[in-house]
């Protein structure tokens, strides 16, 4: 092999977001012509941030980028495109009512706001490109009527048509069926053999092993491993990806769980796109236990939680709270029966950011008799006292109660929300990503609160993409993959590596007792 500068090289990349989060802490990365590099890591490891820097979407706080050995500075994605670097995002950037051809040409050099798209002249070129790389795309159909897998091809074609030779793909297979994935990988190999450099952002071990030439593993903004795929094993990658337990420890004493509080039977839920996201799922959460659901995001956790908390209508199945069947999509009825819900996105579901602390303290509780007087008037004094109590008891730091919660830190927002939910005296706590994005102190505090709930005999369903959190807090653990639990058992039966493998969709051999459920395939 000749000594040659890599096609793209990144050196010492740091990225600190305006809110102070350090997403990248000095990352070196390179990709060669004619190779597929898998960028592996958990949620929040910095994979997408790194590639957004490479594609000109984000500016690094520090660090250098070289293309063919020359230093470059990308001010925007167009700059990166001129160097042949293009990124296909998880969320597509297509205009739904436009045809595939129109979408491919849109925003192209040589087109302008006032000029019509050169559809006729470009059609032949697009055809040639499709033929060359072996993609099949119906050019004259509005993309909104195409299946997601084909929309993705349009998106890729759009990027390639702009002369991209370094193709970055962010979780490209998350929207694809297994058959589509196989076909997609054949396409990637063909593209590589034609001399493209490909970066595949993923958290799926099987895909890494199947299609990549080299693996780079990121964890918490640092490269923790880099190796040729030929010398990688699923176990080795899982270990690199999830790392060791961090120092955040919560004191937890053994406790015998009691009767089931939440019983789920045969629950099937579809996602917004109409795909089955939760498939025929059955489980119990008992009083005095934390059932932790681990898994990479997008495997049906959101849909599961939304169905259980009255935010989404399931396709079929039954849910029982303390033996009584509960109605679907009636959050208030669920709250009355003892549900507390810490939603996955506090700013979206759990809080009204423009409202002050007082008004947020009764969100979801606004109909409880203690807060309402005659004629439906809010009982201001009682609500005010309750808000003060929340702030004091759960250590919410805020200038005063009339502050809009928008201007609180994430940790304080979450303290207010969790405090509100816990002070309902619930029977069941459903918490999703309860510590995401929080500072260390708040994280520890929220985790302690969850354990306190368990110790007080509540049933806690904890769904988290943070493996440390699940391993540390749970009495029992389930791993969710492709809408099902691929493992469910007492926490002490799960080794960290086992969970890592299960999260990646690999059922470890000889671990069948822990991974009781069958493989999803």
């Amino acid at each position: 092999m000749r000594e040659q500068a890599p096609r793209v090289q990144m050196r010492g990349i740091h990225k600190v977001y305006p809110d102070g989060t350090a997403a990248l802490k000095g990352v070196d990365f390179h990709v060669q012509t004619g190779e597929i590099v898998a960028l592996l890591g958990e949620n929040g490891a910095g994979k997408t941030t790194l590639m957004k820097v490479l594609s000109g979407l984000l500016r690094p706080t520090r660090g250098e980028i070289f293309v063919d050995g020359r230093p470059v500075l990308f001010r925007n994605p167009s700059d990166a495109l001129r160097c042949g670097i293009g990124m296909v995002h998880q969320v597509f950037t297509l205009v739904p009512p436009f045809t595939a051809l129109q979408n491919i040409l849109l925003g192209q050099e040589g087109t302008g706001a006032l000029r019509p798209l050169p559809e006729a002249s470009a059609r032949a070129r697009v055809h040639a490109l499709l033929e060359e790389v072996g993609l099949e795309v119906p050019l004259d159909v509005p993309v909104e009527s195409l299946p997601v897998g084909v929309q993705q091809r349009v998106e890729i074609c759009k990027t390639l048509y702009r002369g991209t030779s370094v193709l970055i793909l962010d979780e490209p297979t998350s929207a694809l069926t297994p058959v589509e994935v196989d076909e997609f990988f054949r396409f990637l190999r063909r593209l590589r053999d034609r001399g493209a450099a490909i970066v595949l952002i993923t958290h799926k071990l099987r895909e890494v092993l199947e299609v990549s030439d080299r693996v780079v593993v990121l964890r918490q903004g640092l490269v923790v491993g880099e190796l040729p795929t030929s010398s990688a094993t699923a176990e080795k990658l899982a270990e690199l990806m999830v790392g060791q337990l961090t120092a955040l420890r919560v004191h937890r004493t053994p406790r015998a769980p009691g009767e089931p509080v939440l019983s789920v039977r045969g629950l099937t839920v579809r996602n917004d796109q109409g795909r089955v996201a939760v498939r025929d799922l059955s489980f119990d959460v008992r009083e005095g236990e934390i059932l932790g659901v681990a898994g990479v995001e997008g495997n049906g956790q959101s849909e599961l939680v939304q169905a259980l908390t009255g935010l989404r209508q399931p396709e079929s199945g039954e849910v029982y709270l303390e033996g009584e069947r509960v109605p679907f999509v009636e959050p208030l009825a669920l709250y009355r029966r003892g549900l507390a819900h810490v939603p996955e996105d506090k700013a979206r579901f759990g809080l009204a950011l423009g409202f002050d602390l007082v008004e947020n303290s009764i969100l979801g509780r606004q109909r409880e008799p203690q807060f309402v007087r005659r004629l439906g008037r809010l009982n201001r004094p009682v609500i005010l006292r309750y808000a003060q109590e929340l702030v004091r008891r759960f250590h919410v730091v805020a200038p005063d109660l009339a502050t809009p919660v928008r201007s609180l830190s994430g940790g304080n927002q979450q303290r207010l929300l969790v405090g509100r939910e816990i002070s309902k005296e619930p029977r069941l706590v459903v918490a999703m990503h309860p510590t995401r994005g929080l500072d260390v102190a708040s994280t520890l505090y929220i985790r302690e609160l969850l354990v306190q709930m368990r110790d007080a005999g509540k049933a806690v369903l904890l769904v988290s993409a943070d493996l440390d959190e699940v391993l540390e807090l749970s009495d029992r653990i389930a791993v969710m993959y492709a809408g099902q639990f691929v493992g469910l058992g007492p926490a002490d039966q799960f080794r960290r590596e086992t969970v890592g493998l299960l999260m990646g969709g690999v059922v470890p051999a000889g671990d069948a007792d822990a991974a009781r459920a069958p493989s999803p395939h």
């Binding site: 979206r348 579901f349 409202f355 009339a402």
Partner: protein, 346 residues
């Protein structure tokens, strides 16, 4: 709970009004007039004498109500621009009861007022139902309803409410159904108190009741509202009905609360554009019922003082309308500024 923060919208609005006046001054200057002289005439015309002040308030009365229509919509996350049509039907409803249904004094005035409000609310129910159960976008449906209301109201005014022998207007309100005139030198009547009272009631409702809380929650964050068990259809209907009541009252106020006509013109000339003007008033009033009252007084002052500005300085009355527009545009400046700052912070 009174903090400087609660007053920030007020100071921001005042600053943008000042900005709008400066920009308007440039426009006046560009047309060859002295901005200083023009604004002096404007201020004198609007607030110079007791009568001027009362006339300013007479202009402000319907505006604070149509502003309320828009504001309640925005608070519920809706873009209700149907005040215009709801106001027409409010005027028709009030005219009918006030002019054609004799009743004892006292009862009659209340009945005519309520008829106007009810007619406005009923008309608002059409886009409300279309939105809540069919998902029709309220901007489209309210615009369509405005046109239907225009022609329906003219039809009703000409064919059923017309005064015999006077084609240009409807029967006047009977004396028992007229709001007392507060001063012989102006057209202000006691309907002002009803308007202000209604705005304050809506304020108390939105910020002091469970239902008002849920309405504002749905507007602030629809997902959080779902989480809190709020039914979106209920919020849509509720906000449209409140808005329709306000717009209906605005229409009624121009028939049974505004001399000298005490009737509805067949062309609807004494009510047209009041609904649309309310949108701008609501924006300047930060979509707050109390802010709407203050902003309505400002716009009333522009309307009243603009007359003297035209008479004394020769500034075209169109320029006064332009001034209204510039002030509304200036409202976008704070928002624009945050946008620019966010952009630079990337």
């Amino acid at each position: 709970m009174r903090t400087p923060r609660a007053l920030r919208p007020l100071t921001e609005s005042l600053a943008t009004v000042a900005l709008g006046l400066v920009a308007g001054g440039l426009l006046i200057w560009a047309f060859g007039h002295s901005p200083v002289a023009a604004y002096r005439a404007l201020a004198v015309g609007a607030f110079g004498t007791r009568e001027d002040l009362l006339e300013t308030l007479a202009f402000a009365t319907p505006l604070m109500l149509t502003a309320l229509t828009f504001a309640v919509g925005v608070r519920a996350g809706l873009f209700n621009i149907g005040a215009e049509g709801q106001m027409y039907l409010g005027a028709v409803g009030a005219t009918f009861v006030a002019g054609m249904v004799p009743m004892p004094a006292g009862v009659h005035l209340a009945a005519a007022t309520l008829a106007g409000m009810a007619a406005g609310a009923l008309w608002a129910l059409i886009p409300a139902v279309l939105k809540a159960w069919r998902g029709a976008h309220e901007v489209i449906s309210t615009i369509m309803c405005n046109w239907i209301a225009l022609h329906l109201s003219m039809y009703l005014a000409i064919n059923f409410l017309a005064e015999p022998g006077r084609a240009e207007r409807t029967v006047p309100a009977l004396p028992t159904a007229r709001y007392p005139v507060l001063s012989e030198e102006s057209t202000l009547t006691a309907v002002l108190f009803v308007a202000v009272g209604f705005a304050l009631v809506v304020y108390a409702y939105l910020w002091g009741t469970r239902a008002g809380y849920e309405l504002r929650l749905a507007g602030e964050n629809p997902d959080a509202a779902r989480y809190a068990g709020v039914r979106p259809e209920r919020v849509v209907v509720l906000s449209f009905v409140i808005g329709g009541l306000a717009a209906g009252l605005a229409g009624a106020s121009q028939v049974i609360g505004r001399p000298p006509a005490w009737s509805l013109y067949a062309t609807l000339g004494n009510v047209t554009t009041l609904g649309f003007d309310g949108i701008g008033v609501a924006l300047v009033g930060r979509n707050h019922p109390v802010g709407g009252i203050l902003a309505a007084v400002l716009f009333g002052a522009l309307a009243q003082g603009g007359r003297l500005m035209e008479y004394e300085v020769g500034v075209l009355s169109e320029l006064v309308r332009a001034l209204n527009g510039i002030i509304v545009f200036a409202m976008a400046v704070p928002e624009l500024w945050t946008l620019v700052r966010r952009r630079l912070a990337r």
